[in-house]
Symmetry: C2
Subunit: 209 residues, 2 copies
């Protein structure tokens, strides 16, 4: 989805034709998302974005027609990643319990790989049409997980003393809270974090005898 860099053939740092040397849409997007997360989407103007990018406002308009398009592109990176989880064969066949574990693990992976984008998604308030459409896609994702939990209950692998809606809320609470504290590049790798989340959610913190 991101467009090719402005100067794919020449040295990227030597062309200033589209704003700052070497800037492509993905770079603009990465910076924009970081600024949205810091100041809030509503409070971020194109002027603030331009300042953070070190380019002019008109240079930003070379990459995207509006602030809302930036938001839309950013949310697509979060939602596209999350939705791709359902395309993997592991989420389509096998015991519900195993599919659910796969979905949890994959969701944590997408969340850590696309951390600022998912953070933006999770903080949306729904003030614009773009935000409401994104929230509807997020709800659709959540519903699919809730259905999987219901299937795993019916199959006998998930406890039945907890309402499936509560189970689903607590599961997403645990997963989504990762954006508040996880910092990539540290000792805790995304794979180990995914293992830990699966271990806590399915087996709990208690030792097993």
């Amino acid at each position: 989805m991101p467009s090719a860099p402005a100067a794919a053939s020449g040295a990227p740092s030597s062309t200033g034709r589209r704003g700052r040397p070497g800037y492509d849409q993905q770079t603009v997007l990465n910076v924009a998302v970081e600024v949205f997360n810091r100041h809030g989407y509503d409070a971020t103007s194109m002027g603030i974005l331009a300042e953070n990018l070190g380019i002019s406002k008109s240079a930003i308009y070379h990459h995207v027609p509006s602030k809302e398009d930036l938001l839309s592109l950013a949310l697509e990176q979060a939602l596209g990643g999350l939705e791709s989880v359902w395309e993997a064969p592991e989420s389509q066949s096998g015991r519900a319990e195993e599919r659910l574990e796969f979905v949890v693990r994959s969701t944590v992976r997408v969340l850590t790989e696309r951390l600022p984008f998912v953070t933006l998604l999770l903080r949306l308030r729904g003030n614009t049409e773009t935000e409401r459409a994104a929230l509807e896609r997020r709800r659709s994702f959540d519903r699919k997980v809730a259905e999987l939990i219901a299937e795993a209950r019916a199959e006998g692998s998930i406890r039945t003393d907890i309402d499936p809606r509560t189970a689903s809320r607590l599961l997403f609470g645990t997963i989504n809270s990762i954006v508040e504290w996880y910092r990539p590049g540290g000792a805790l790798t995304p794979a180990k974090l995914a293992d830990d989340v699966v271990a806590v959610l399915f087996d709990g913190l208690h030792t097993r005898s």
Copy 2:
């Protein structure tokens, strides 16, 4: 801590001396917290508060000297509730595992009983001195829980394949996310929710054979 209603002796609804009939500091606080949570503390002016309360700005100043005092009083209701958990005898003696379970259960109770106040606390950005002081008290609470997790590990009741910091983060992630979806007064009582959170965190979603 909240002051007595303005007209403790007469009929509370018949005195308008302190703004709207029957308004006391706690009522002003309840409305203010709700408005802070809806618009964000920074974006809420005393004018917006007055509008939501249906009283004049000067009537608010009869109750509190400033917006930051309102914030401070509101955060005290969240933090005071959370900190009182450590004063109960159940959190002071016994196996670390049982103390930890008690603290988790009590934290969920405080969170559901003082939902808007804890929501405000959890959304703080730390822009003012009041906010930074509150965040420091929150961190201190979190540290005590982390120490309890470490004790429970040492005692052999908490699994050792998860780093205690990660365990603590996931535990708070699960608990704190409750403010995002729990609505009091529904079929899910605070006591059942506390049971569910303890069940998921300590025993996991899997059925046990």
